[in-house]
Symmetry: none
């Protein structure tokens, strides 16, 4: 989302698919990265280096390049896993967005869409005023 983005993974370090959200300690154990560091990464207080990112990718269920992209280290439109999911193929929904959002309950998905609509109409009227 940002251009000079560094590896901000705020919030996506753990909120994981499936049933089991790893604890920092578990992730630390399996990845070899200290739990304290992981904690700070999660809160956006540290920006993980590539090697750290690499160590936690698999444990989190991401392909390496996928996580790198999420972190802003690779630009989104690379070879990517784009059309992996038939059905969403209509517009061009970013696969990572699809993946993350897909983990939320459907009501949440709809609410998110509603918020977007509100924001757009807000933006529109603001644009009108400042003209």
């Amino acid at each position: 989302m940002d251009n000079d983005n560094r590896g901000n993974l705020g919030g996506i370090v753990r909120q994981q698919r499936v049933t089991v959200p790893l604890t920092l300690q578990q992730l630390a154990a399996v990845s070899g990265v200290s739990a304290s560091h992981l904690g700070r990464i999660e809160k956006g207080q540290r920006f993980p280096s590539a090697s750290i990112l690499r160590r936690i990718a698999k444990p989190l269920g991401f392909d390496e390049d996928e996580l790198f992209t999420l972190a802003g280290y690779l630009s989104p439109q690379l070879p990517s896993i784009a059309e992996k999911n038939p059905g969403y193929s209509n517009g061009r929904l970013d696969p990572y967005v699809a993946r993350m959002l897909g983990q939320e309950p459907v009501e949440v998905q709809h609410t998110v869409l509603g918020i977007l609509t509100i924001l757009k109409s807000l933006a529109k009227s603001v644009a009108k005023e400042t003209r």
Copy 2:
């Protein structure tokens, strides 16, 4: 080759395909990375962070992921982008949501995701306060 490999690019920073071997200064100018730093990277005295790597990829004629792989930050993609564990496959994304969001620019999609993350963490702390 190496297991705990960091981003060693010794020797490949400049000797480039194509015709033109860039000078460090030229590469510095176009990539925004200081020439001195590039020099040390080339000699293996510094290990470029992901953001540095990203800045010099295109100027050097590499795809980003290509250079990341060369640097040892990404493992050479063997199984490619397979769906390994079907258990990972996202809970499903509502097709309507997918369609609507898919019409937005990717940055907007990402922003939406960011907002969702913020809301979730907000909800969490509110829940904590009114405990």
